[in-house]
């Protein structure tokens, strides 16, 4: 059904009105009577022994209600935070799993590690009291430099992880790859750093909790992307509160980008302390705290080599990566540089042999975990920069080299050498469209024109593939995931015909309240204003896995479709009874049950009414009510793909890189709401360009201090850093989910860094610059130019 509000329509968002009128409700907005306020005292040192903590003076401060330290948790037998994905190393042994206490007991391991929780009548009083806590630290040398994390003599972060090694993991057969390299006509080699990023969702993380003494029930409000999973972790592993006694609510959440997937120390403490304090507790991170304690993203050091034959066909790819885990293993940290990274190294290409070795390191820095794209941007960056580098070395057109190696459209489903089976795709028309939109043929003229103005112009490609819609439980389970990866939906009609749809997915900007309503409207014919999408509350929604990995529509939307099928099936039986027809003859069209070839019909609302007021009802075969649940576990990941083309101009005098144009053509399968999809792509591109040109967490290598610890030094992309973007679509429906959809949330961020950096390298190649690391800041670019000039002079 195509309507102004159905599948494929640019429906304006239902959720917008509350956000535009200041009536959205985020965690910090909650009015909780008699609330107390928490403040966390955090370690100023990257690595230190705690010799003592003296809270006596602080306890006497005005307004102080309670002060807790790590010792209180030990006494209360509170468990540590967990990493939920067991990665087996190349010998088949599970990764090293050092303990991750909720609050530090005897050692702090990064600047920001939680040392004490102060609960007071006001935020200021809590903060005042925190200053009176005396912690006697014995400062230890810190392990900060990732590239040297395994070196002899480097400080050890955890006794449980000798040599700072969490795992040494591999995929592919090294000997086969080496043999292919031995026969190669050309080998392209590359050393790159995938810079460390700080997510900086605009809403800082926050938590509030309340304990009901009468029932023993806890309520935790959290800025979570997945409230059910948070509840599961807190109940089963950390706090031991029975799952049914803990309600987790993630109300309006101001962006996540992965950083709000994980179970954090502070929200854990707020929940735990609620029963001890006996009053509600509120905590909201200051931005400075977010910088220190939100899980960071990326942070790889990689050596890669690509072997090609004399025609330019890829023979093999070999990748060695050191991945930073930070000081502790966060919730999904181990999976990111392995199963979400190395399995994507085939990209869009037929590379027959791939070997990847990943060593994960612990360092005295904030934990690192999934951040928009999680592993896939890192893989795409390796593949797409080495392909462009190979093209430059072989003096081939970068688009041509890509085309030559694309997986042929006829080869799907396509089994890659790194475990994944791509279900569908059609890459050549995508790159063609992107080149058309970007006016690739006109580029050399633009380059010449820029040169006349003293500017260096460059163009860069990035043809990405991603595996998302996380996804088949059997597969992820076999790879070590500690949870299933299905999604749930419940469709509950009310007697008056309006409908509430409960989803296990969580919306924190993605517009589920609109997109999901479009599905219901399209399939069941219910008017949009009669549909409410309910999410984010464990008490009102069925157990679900939440939103990350571009999974909400492909998995959560599919669960909703499955539930609508059940609604229709039940409705058909009711309608058949009402129409005195055979169920087999009843069809459902445009919201109405009909008997083919007659004018008999029963609108869905009438069937619903009959289900709740079952005076004339097939009681023998049907229960009353119209309320259906579905769980959907997909057969495979979904594989969106696309090509981005970035065009930059560099001012060689200052090193400033300006993005002149950025084109993205994507295949997201079927599109439900193009407006929302475009918004996702825009945001993703900016985060990707941000990684390439602006953003980078900088820790002082000697002290482990985060010197890019505020917006004064961590460059957030701003409006004037960008042109408007040019987008295009090609559609290859996903063959295995009912909507034919793929995922769109991460694509922009996955593809953009390579497109930008390839453009930067393309621009700088004529003046002899071989390599610029991300972020290509003015300083970085200028220094690279200086280096090239020095090299040329020698």
């Amino acid at each position: 059904m195509t309507s102004a509000t159905g599948i494929g329509a640019r429906v304006l968002r239902t959720e917008d009105k509350r956000f535009l009128t200041g009536t959205g409700r985020y965690v910090d907005d909650l009015p909780l009577a008699r609330a107390t306020y928490a403040y966390f005292l955090r370690s100023p040192h990257a690595h230190a022994k705690i010799k003592s903590i003296d809270i006596a003076a602080a306890e006497k401060h005005p307004g102080v209600v309670n002060i807790f330290t790590g010792k209180d948790l030990v006494d209360a037998k509170v468990g540590g935070l967990i990493c939920g994905w067991v990665v087996k190393d190349k010998h088949g042994d599970p990764h090293k799993a050092p303990p991750h206490p909720v609050m530090a007991v005897d050692t702090v391991r990064y600047v920001g590690d939680t040392v004490a929780m102060i609960v007071a009548n006001s935020h200021d009083e809590a903060r005042d009291a925190a200053e009176a806590i005396k912690v006697d630290y014995e400062v230890l040398p810190a392990n900060v430099d990732l590239a040297r994390a395994f070196d002899k003599g480097v400080p050890q972060v955890h006794a449980e992880a000798p040599g700072n090694l969490i795992y040494d993991w591999e995929i592919g057969v090294k000997a086969d790859v080496e043999a292919a390299f031995a026969k190669a006509a050309h080998v392209t080699k590359m050393d790159i750093v995938n810079n460390r990023l700080i997510p900086n969702a605009m809403e800082p993380r926050a938590a509030a909790a309340e304990y009901d003494k009468g029932t023993g029930n806890y309520t935790l409000w959290s800025t979570s992307q997945n409230p059910h999973v948070l509840r599961l972790i807190l109940s089963a592993f950390v706090l031991g509160i029975p799952e049914h006694k803990l309600r987790v609510i993630a109300p309006d959440v101001g962006g996540g980008f992965g950083s709000k997937i994980f179970c954090y120390a502070d929200e854990t403490m707020v929940c735990w302390a609620a029963s001890r304090v006996g009053r509600p507790i509120k905590w909201t991170a200051e931005r400075s705290e977010s910088f220190l304690t939100d899980c960071h993203g990326r942070d790889h050091v990689t050596h890669a080599e690509l072997a090609l034959d004399k025609e330019g066909k890829f023979l093999a790819l070999k990748v060695e990566t050191i991945a930073n885990m930070g000081a502790y293993l966060s919730t999904f940290a181990t999976a990111v540089p392995t199963y979400l990274y190395a399995t994507l190294l085939a990209g869009q290409y037929t590379t027959p042999l791939i070997y990847a070795n990943v060593k994960a390191a612990v360092t005295n820095t904030a934990p690192v975990d999934a951040y928009r794209g999680a592993g896939r941007p890192e893989a795409t960056f390796v593949v797409e920069t080495i392909v462009s580098k190979a093209a430059a070395e072989l003096k081939m057109d970068p688009a041509e080299l890509r085309r030559k190696n694309f997986i042929p459209t006829t080869a799907f489903p396509y089994q890659t050498p790194v475990a994944l089976q791509y279900d569908s795709g059609n890459y050549p028309p995508i790159i063609d469209e992107a080149m058309k939109i970007a006016d690739y043929p006109g580029f050399e003229a633009r380059r010449a024109e820029a040169k006349a103005r003293g500017k260096l112009r460059g163009i860069g490609f990035s043809s990405y593939i991603e595996a998302c819609g996380l996804a088949p439980s059997q597969v992820v389970g076999s790879l070590g995931a500690g949870v299933g990866q299905w999604e749930s939906a419940q469709i509950k009609f009310n007697p008056t015909g309006n409908v509430q749809v409960m989803t296990g997915a969580h919306s924190h900007g993605q517009g589920h309240e609109t997109t999901f309503a479009q599905l219901i409207h399209d399939k069941l014919g219910v008017p949009m204003d009669q549909i409410e999408i309910v999410h984010g509350d464990t008490a009102t929604t069925p157990f679900g896995m939440g939103t990350y990995g571009s999974r909400s529509l492909a998995v959560g939307g599919s669960a909703i479709m499955k539930a609508t099928d059940k609604i229709i099936a039940k409705g058909k039986k009711i309608a058949a009874h009402l129409m005195e027809a055979d169920v087999a003859d009843v069809v459902f069209e445009n919201g109405t049950f009909k008997v083919a070839g007659t004018d008999k019909n029963v609108p869905l609302a009438q069937a619903v009414f009959a289900a709740y007021v079952p005076h004339n009802y097939p009681h023998a075969e049907l229960e009353p009510g119209m309320d259906e649940n579905a769980f959907y576990d997909p057969a495979n990941f979904v594989y969106p793909s696309g090509t981005q083309i970035c065009e930059v101009e560099i001012d060689p005098d200052t090193g400033i890189v300006e993005v002149i144009a950025h084109t993205a053509v994507d295949d997201f399968g079927n599109i439900i709401n193009p407006m929302i999809v475009e918004g996702q792509v825009h945001g993703g591109i900016v985060q990707g360009v941000g990684q390439a040109l602006f953003e980078g967490a900088v820790y002082d290598k000697a002290t482990g201090q985060l010197v890019s610890g505020s917006f004064m030094d961590y460059t957030m992309p701003r409006a004037d850093n960008f042109p408007s973007f040019k987008l295009g679509y090609k559609v290859t429906p996903c063959p295995h989910n009912p909507l034919g959809v793929k995922g769109c949330g991460e694509a922009g961020a996955i593809a953009a860094p390579a497109a930008v950096m390839n453009a930067v390298h393309n621009a700088l190649a004529p003046i002899g610059v071989k390599h610029v690391e991300m972020p290509a800041t003015p300083l970085n670019v200028w220094q690279s130019i200086q280096g090239a000039q020095r090299a040329a002079a020698e």
Binding site: G254, G255, R718
Partner: protein, 161 residues
């Protein structure tokens, strides 16, 4: 030091007792329960807290409540002329999908309105982008925010706001 403050917020006279250190944004959120104005950073850069004080956009996280004594303050809650009707800037943000998570949105809208007025309802893309220097958004990539503001400028002019 406790001080009494009185000001007009969204056309209504309000007053309260605050500490000298209370920020305007705290007064709005905590004393008045107007939580539409957000706090997204502690270095006065993100712009989630932008409100209008005497017709000018300011960062309410970088102004003391006592400094707004006697001032006319306008927040996101006071923009829409009625429960049904939105301000043209709010409309334009919705029409152009210029918001996703909604957290930066109140400050973005307040800055945008001020920008349109200061430029006498005439803006081009480069100006809009430059004028958004004090507002960070992590979701939209700014693309649709710029579109929305460009669309709102003539709409505000014809609506006379």
């Amino acid at each position: 030091m406790t001080i009494s403050v009185a000001m007009t917020v969204n056309g209504k006279a309000v007053s309260g007792k605050v500490e000298a250190r209370t920020l305007l944004v705290q007064f709005l959120r905590e004393n008045l329960g107007m939580t539409g104005t957000h706090v997204g950073c502690d270095t006065s850069q993100c712009g989630a807290c932008v409100v209008h004080v005497d017709g000018q956009s300011i960062k309410s996280c970088t102004m003391l409540a006592v400094q707004a004594e006697g001032a006319k303050v306008m927040t996101i809650e006071g923009l829409a002329p009625s429960a049904e009707k939105l301000h043209p800037m709010q409309e334009a943000f919705r029409d152009n999908h210029a918001l996703q998570c909604g957290f930066c949105t109140p400050g973005m809208v307040m800055s945008a309105i001020d920008m349109v007025k200061r430029h006498n309802y005439e803006l081009d893309e480069a100006t809009v982008r430059r004028e958004l220097e004090g507002n960070l958004c992590r979701c939209t990539g700014y693309h649709n925010i710029v579109k929305a503001i460009l669309a709102a400028a003539p709409a505000m002019k014809s609506a006379g706001v």
